[in-house]
Amino acid sequence: MRLLTRTSLLITTISLFILFIGSIVFFQITRRIIDKQVNMELLSMMHSTMQNFDKNIANPPASFSYNTIIKRISPNKTIIPEFQDTTIYSTFEKKYIPNRVLVFTLTANRQNYQVEIYKSMLEPNTLLESITLATLVLAIVLIISIYFINRIIFRSIWRDFFTSLKKIENYDIKKLDNITLKNSEIIEFNTLNQVLTTLISRIKKDFLNLKELTANTTHELQTPLAIIRSKAELLLQSDNLSENQTDLISGVLQSAHRLSKLNESLLLITKIENNQFARSEPVKMAETLKTHIENFQALIDYSHFQSDIRHGNIYINPLLLDVLLINLLKNAISYCNKKGEIYVNYIDYEFHVANSGKALEIPRERIFDRFVKGSENSESSGLGLCIVKKICDYYKLPVKYEYKSSMHHFTIDFSSLVEQLETVV
């Protein structure tokens, strides 16, 4: 839920609740006041009736005025004055009208009379209705205004916050830009901005350190590895080595070789991430691809291999293109089953390589992750496809993986690099 929606909803609900309770209380109080007023009026009428009543009259009239009724009752019966609510049919309005009645007794000539004074409640009720209606209208107007006022206040108060949020959202640590958050008049937002700026600069520093460390470590590792490999290779050339000894040396060599390949791949990934391959140039894709396929030909004699390569130059860093193509071809060859098939196509700037093979044992979406490898190829570094993805990401090339009819398909669309080529030429 958005902040604005949430606040509006809360404010509206609370105002509705308060207004609801308030209206009920207001209605009750008004009604009580009106009730009291009516009762007072009736009582004062009772008093004037009592005072004006002639105690010696033998036959009092049936009524003093239009709203009193006098009835003779038995002499023993006295009625304590009391208020009653009733309805009386009005011949004028042709409907029952609510009335309040005050009933009391009068004594004249030792005769008891029951007096009823009526007071129409029509007027006070109408008043009450009008008041209620007015309150309701006021409440609705109030809620609507609160809703809009809240929105306006919200926008103006949180504006700086949203500006900062947008900036942070668009911030990419890998681009190593500096971030400047606008100063706000609100202290809390200013504090937040300061905290964020400090945090980001610290993360940036750590990120840079880590990158530098990776680059330095991998680079520095190459020399000792070269020494280990060369020493082992020399040792292998010694005379009179036993089979056991050559086996041991071969083990050292193989591990050192694997380590150096792994290191090379990591170094390459770091370099791609560090934008160290900025220089691009027009490349004859078809020729490059054909050269690599020729190089691999020694490997793939035993596979059924087909290629269809058309011309189409692109603008790219040649080394990265080499690495990209080699890794994809290598992947196809490594995971191709014996006597399997490999297809390589480059048509309309779309590079497509497919190889037959077993379905993946790893989740499909993890195929481009680091150190993810198919089980049958435990010696592979698990970095090949990660490098492919890094290079594709670097150039924003769409890369697609599919498995259909027992074949793994990789497709890369190079067409976005063609436009760049045209702008360069």
Binding site: Q237, D247, L267, N295, D301, L319, N377
Partner: protein, 226 residues
């Protein structure tokens, strides 16, 4: 043949020297820094220069520039830990003949040295002779007793690699990398090396050559000529 190795890592330089001097035709000098390299180059004539780019007191590229300005006719191989295209292009632009990325196989370095020396010392007309087998490296042609041996490109490259590293153990990985380029790291399918060796051996045996190629169990192969 005299070779100068300019490499600041003493151990690596030692290994290279040790490997190369096993070939009777080579003598090697070693320079651990730029100044020593310049000194040696001024005092002696070398046929080949193996130079690292990152030196403690200068750049290997400057060593190459100096060598070129002295108009020394020698083959130059750069060995560098830097695998970027710019470095490679710059190295080749200042006059290097080849560029090898660390870490490399000593046998590969040796093969490249041999190849360069063949090119500059014999203007490419070098013919390698082993018993009755003649390998013309210009025509890329192999004959045994005047009879042409029909080899594929991979088989020819393999034979030349063996000839450059005669009587040395060549690991399967180094053969694979030599045939397919440095990016190859398909350990699970090194069978193709075996396939090529089997074919090459068979073709040579068919023409009456002795069985030069010996299998070194678990490691690789050796081309024995004595």
């Amino acid at each position: 043949m005299k070779i100068l190795i300019v490499e600041d890592e003493k151990e690596l330089a030692n290994s290279i020297v040790n490997y190369l001097v096993k070939f009777e035709e080579f003598t090697c000098d070693m320079a651990l820094n730029y100044n020593k390299a310049m000194q040696l180059m001024e005092s002696f004539d070398y046929d080949c220069l193996i130079v690292d780019i990152g030196l403690p007191d200068g750049s290997g590229l400057d060593v190459i520039r100096e060598a070129k300005s002295m108009d020394l006719n020698m083959g130059i191989i750069i060995i560098s830990a830097n695998n970027t295209l710019d470095d490679k292009i710059e190295g080749l632009n200042v006059g290097a003949d080849d560029y090898l990325i660390k870490p490399f196989h000593l046998s590969e370095l040796n093969a490249r040295v041999h190849s360069i020396l063949r090119r500059i010392r014999f203007e490419g007309k070098s013919v390698i002779k082993i018993d009755e087998m003649l390998v013309d490296t210009l025509k890329r042609q192999v004959t045994v007793k005047d009879e042409n041996v029909d080899l594929t490109k991979s088989e020819y490259d393999l034979l030349l690699y063996f000839l450059s590293n005669r009587n040395k153990v060549l690991t399967k990985v180094s053969i694979a990398e030599h045939l397919c380029g440095e990016y190859i790291d398909i350990y699970s399918s090194l069978d193709f090396v075996y396939t090529h060796i089997k074919n090459l051996r068979k073709k040579l045996l068919d023409k009456g050559c002795p069985d030069y190629i010996k299998t070194v169990y678990g490691v690789g192969y050796k081309f024995i000529t004595e």
